[in-house]
């Protein structure tokens, strides 16, 4: 019963039966002794990788091992923004591939992920910033991606309550990507887990990887808290924990782990119908379908594995919000939390093989990896199955730091706590 296709008919049937007939969305699998591919990390990227291995490459003897429960990592902690408004050739096609996959995702995995293309609006406050956004918008349009440069009046129509005449940071306009928006983050994890499970993938929760077995320069299996698992190929998708897991195979990564916080307010009536980012400080905000304002800002800025941040960042984020839209000043914050960011040294991700045969690496998502979930899985699955990079991810190499081929969107160099 649980493996029925979700549809308006199954919903109708269950409504009439008091919703007593829904089964679990995926099996609670126990580890088997051996698999063709084992993915470490049951976040969005690990689950989407497993799903595309099965659906695109016919590789179904696959396990995803997750030390906690599905959705306990960043995939269930982010502010759910998706977009493809990048600048550099190494990034634009990758993120656009992701946005295209989002557009067809719910039909593909038969799961309501609440993909909402409500638009992402980046505000600018100076002439120099306008030029930078015009350039970014042009780069996007040259790649066939939608981008519109809005003037002040057009922004005012969208956000009549914003503080346009702020003495220091008046709003001059914004760059709008209408196809950007938000997606229900947990549903992405659950939907991919269910879709992978239905194609035979074992989704194994509460199974922590404690060692990687390497024989003659080749990864052949994993030690876990639930026993040894042999694998022909191992893919790492451990986000903030990447350095620790890679170290099990003797690798050092160009990654630092940092904490990023997010905040949700009490539910209020519809106010913000798109995603807005402030250009004079670091602040971004949207409104969830339940009415809560969902917002965030900078990473705290120091190495951390603590899953929680500190108060100065809370103050900084709220100051950004108040400078942009004083109207939210009396709304109460009800929840805040932190996640572990895998900050790479140029702000861009890594999807590549490693010096160890049969060991593949997916990491460096900084604080923007949720939007990448479909393309990351798509490209990582292709890499693992074909042993060759998928074209749109070809620049996201591990050795680019050594060879000088950085993909540095911000142009700030080797400094992980700036991206």
């Amino acid at each position: 019963m649980g493996y029925d296709r979700y549809s308006v008919f199954s919903l109708l049937r269950e409504s009439l039966r008091g919703h007593a007939g829904w089964g679990p969305a995926w099996r609670d699998a126990a580890p088997r002794p051996a698999y063709d591919v084992v993915i470490v990390g049951g976040g969005g990227h690990g689950l989407s990788t497993a799903y595309y291995l099965a659906s695109q490459h016919g590789i179904t003897n696959v396990a995803v091992v997750e030390r906690g429960y599905i959705g306990s990592g960043n995939v269930g902690r982010n502010t759910t923004i998706i977009r493809s408004n990048y600048l550099l050739p190494g990034n634009i096609p990758f993120y656009e591939h992701s946005l295209k996959l989002w557009e067809g995702l719910e039909q593909d995995i038969n799961y309501n992920a609440m993909v909402s293309q409500r638009g992402v609006l980046n505000l600018f406050h100076t002439d120099a910033q306008r030029d930078a956004y015009a350039r970014r918008g042009n780069a996007m349009r040259l790649h066939g991606i939608d981008a519109e440069l809005l003037d002040r009046a057009a922004v005012r129509r969208m956000l009549p309550y914003a503080d346009f005449d702020n003495a220091r940071f008046p709003i001059h306009g914004g760059l709008l990507q209408r196809r950007g928006g938000t997606v229900r983050h947990d549903a992405v994890a659950w939907g991919y887990a269910r879709a992978a499970d239905r194609r035979g993938v074992d989704v194994i929760q509460h199974c922590e990887v404690t060692g990687i077995t390497v024989e003659n320069g080749r990864a052949v299996g994993l030690q876990t808290t639930r026993g040894t698992i042999r694998a022909k190929k191992v893919g790492l998708a451990c986000a903030g924990n990447s350095s620790r897991v890679a170290a099990m195979a003797g690798l050092r990564l160009p990654i630092e782990s940092h904490v990023l916080q997010a905040f949700v307010s009490e539910g209020i009536k519809p106010l913000i119908d798109c995603v807005v980012t402030y250009g004079a400080g670091h602040f971004y905000i949207s409104q969830s379908d339940k009415g809560g304002l969902v917002f965030g800002g900078d990473i705290d800025g120091y190495n951390s594995y603590a899953w929680r941040g500190n108060l100065p960042t809370v103050e900084d984020v709220c100051e950004g919000g108040m400078a942009l839209m004083p109207i939210i000043g009396r709304v109460r914050i009800t929840r805040s939390w932190g996640g572990l960011m895998d900050m790479s040294m140029d702000g861009s991700p890594i999807i590549d093989r490693t010096p160890i045969e049969g060991l593949y690496l997916n990491c460096g998502w900084c604080y923007g990896g949720f939007k990448a979930t479909p393309a990351s899985g798509w490209c990582f699955a292709h890499l693992i199955a074909q042993d060759a990079p998928y074209p749109v991810a070809a620049a996201l190499r591990l050795d680019r730091f050594a060879t000088g081929r950085l993909v540095d969107e911000k142009g700030v160099g080797a400094q992980p706590n700036l991206h």
Binding site: P254, Y302, A306, N310, A402
Partner: protein
């Protein structure tokens, strides 16, 4: 998080600017320092979960660079010393 500055006493960490891991040692210029040594220094990090020696600059205080020992799992700060002292100690070591 509060950092015990040897000069100013215990202060909120927002007075400090963070630079990162204090472990990597800048290689010598020129000579036979290979590219791989520079790559290692500039890009690779141990990124430990637990005690971490890291550089903080007391920007809104005495403007001293400090080596702070802090646990990245708990944010507990174990101590802070002037980076200069640490550097002198290190270069004196064989």
């Amino acid at each position: 998080m509060r950092i015990p500055c040897p000069h100013c006493g215990e202060r909120g960490f927002q007075e400090f600017a963070y630079y990162g891991d204090a472990g990597p040692k800048r290689p010598a210029h020129g000579g036979d320092t290979g590219e791989d040594v520079w790559f290692d220094y500039v890009y690779l990090r141990d990124n430990p979960a637990g005690p971490h020696e890291e550089l903080w600059y007391h920007a809104a205080g005495c403007r001293t660079w400090l080596v702070v020992t802090r646990n990245t799992l708990t944010h507990e700060v174990a101590g802070a010393r002037p980076a200069r002292d640490v550097a002198l100690e290190r270069s004196a070591a064989p």
